[in-house]
Symmetry: none
DNA sequence: TACATTTTTGAATAAACATTCTACTTGTAG
DNA sequence: CTACAAGTAGAATGTTTATTCAAAAATGTA
């Protein structure tokens, strides 16, 4: 109902849904070529979002100028303005969230509820991204290594410490032998020698990457230890000294990043390792 | 392995994965500005896909020409050619999202990917629930108490420890004075007396609730200390000895619960407290 | 059929664009 | 400290782009 009213109003559509509705209404008495544009646009929204007028026009079998007329008929200034709606649809509003976030941050209207709302929204997005982009091969390898390791050594400082701390607790509950490496002065590096060749080292580190952690992992890796890393970018220095790398992009607000998505992955790791261990111990 | 070889080859990358790999390899000896491009590109692939050189350059804090150099360094003809890779990634993602979900569901329930998929799905649900059911009054009160406290004492054991550990780190970065209470034998309870009346005690505890934690909070509450608690049920024993209670229902899989939603809330708390402190210290 | 109106076309145009080039800065080896 | 190389910034360039416009075609009406 509301949608139809929106579509009939003379304002320019602001989102993909109202744009579609508008097309539906106006298509009844549209001239031939414009209807051709409408059909093509609805059938190939991606190409509208990414292509140039020339490309799209030739693909749709019309003139570039017709595309402009089409956009103007729908209430837009020109083609470019319409294209932005299609682009927004493609990205899935991720820009909208970050923009809103920045605006709120700048305008100083930071209520606790709005901060929470934004973190929830971007965490959900971050979780979706994890689902889409996770390297399932690396995931499988990591779990297999963790499942077959005699002892799992866990290392992570600063923001990464809660992650390994959580793994320490959860894996411990499953009777997996873990060793949480805590940083107490310069003693840390000497402990590399206590890592057995049947063990595994799980390292979490995020930008800015702690040099101590990278150094430690590097030494262990050099000694042939399996190094399984969890980090936030392929640019992470830990990637070069790791057997497997898991990448997570966390939600952020200004300079502060959540641990929401990372914890989701960590929990999954723990459960999967637990499962795998059960199977191997049974057989 | 294969990925590294691809990245080392001199051909232009043909998909997003090999592009990322290439960036990872070349980033070792990349000059400052190009590395800046690399970081921005990996963190905001969507904007690279849709923006113009001018827009992206200003957002990344570099010159438009630097973006072109960056693309050429990676083996592309120019920026436009590189942009196509990012566009391809954008289109492929939205199409394959449901497809990937289906695959995960079909692959059985005990593969690592399916475990992760389940946790992601239930974490998103849990986040939604948090948004809908959060007690905003309690949230405001908690943040005000944390913002005005002289020192924030943090207490949480077992599964709750990573939460307070994270708050300890994040609040510390904001120059908020915190004291992470660690459990070392029976000494803990004696420390109640060191909590000042201008301080606050933040307690996290989840089922099964650690008696030590509840006992400690009870004593502090009895002495008139503000006790701000984070727990998983109003039936939690901590609720009766708290000034404010925040409730979170976490995603679970069998006997194992994630910390995803809890961390989202914790991050929001930290940021909100940081904001509130900034305001009060400025005025 | 003749006329008025709408629609389309395709060249013309001006703006936006990616890219190149040169002068300048920064870092480095002798 | 000097000389040389590498990297960068910002203006200049030539191309691509969306958009406009006038002429032509199509459509509807009497």
């Amino acid at each position: 109902m509301t949608q139809n009213l929106d579509a009939l109003s003379t304002d320019t559509p602001t989102d993909y849904e109202s744009l579609k509705a508008r097309i539906g209404v106006l298509s009844d008495n549209m001239p031939k070529r414009l209807l051709q544009c409408a059909k093509y646009a609805l059938a190939n929204p991606d190409r509208i979002a990414l292509g140039t007028t020339a490309e799209i026009a030739s693909a749709a079998g019309v003139q570039p100028s017709t595309l402009v007329r089409f956009a103007q008929t729908l209430g837009f200034d020109g083609f470019s303005q319409m294209q932005q709606i299609f682009q927004g649809q493609l990205v899935g509003r991720s820009n909208e969230y970050t923009e809103r976030l920045n605006k709120i941050h700048e305008s100083g209207t930071n209520t606790p509820a709005s901060i929470l709302g934004n973190f929830i929204a971007s965490s959900k997005q971050s979780l979706d991204e994890l689902l889409m982009q996770v390297d399932t091969i690396a995931l499988d390898k990591t779990i297999e290594a963790l499942a077959t390791a005699e002892t799992i050594h866990l290392l992570g400082l600063r923001r990464a410490f809660p992650v390994v701390s959580y793994l320490h607790y959860t894996l411990g509950k499953m009777r997996v032998r873990t060793n949480l490496l805590e940083f107490t002065g310069g003693i840390l590096e000497e402990r590399v020698q206590f890592i057995n060749e049947n063990d595994a080292l799980f390292v979490a580190t995020f930008s800015p990457y702690s040099p101590e952690v990278v150094e430690f992992a590097s030494k262990a890796f050099g000694r042939g230890v399996k190094v399984l890393s969890l980090t936030d970018s392929v640019l992470s220095p830990i990637a070069r000294v790791s057997s497997t790398v898991l990448e997570v992009h966390e939600a952020e607000h200004g300079a502060f990043r959540s641990l929401s998505t990372t914890m989701c992955l960590a929990t999954s790791l723990a459960v999967a390792v637990g499962d795998a261990r059960k199977w191997t111990s049974l057989s």
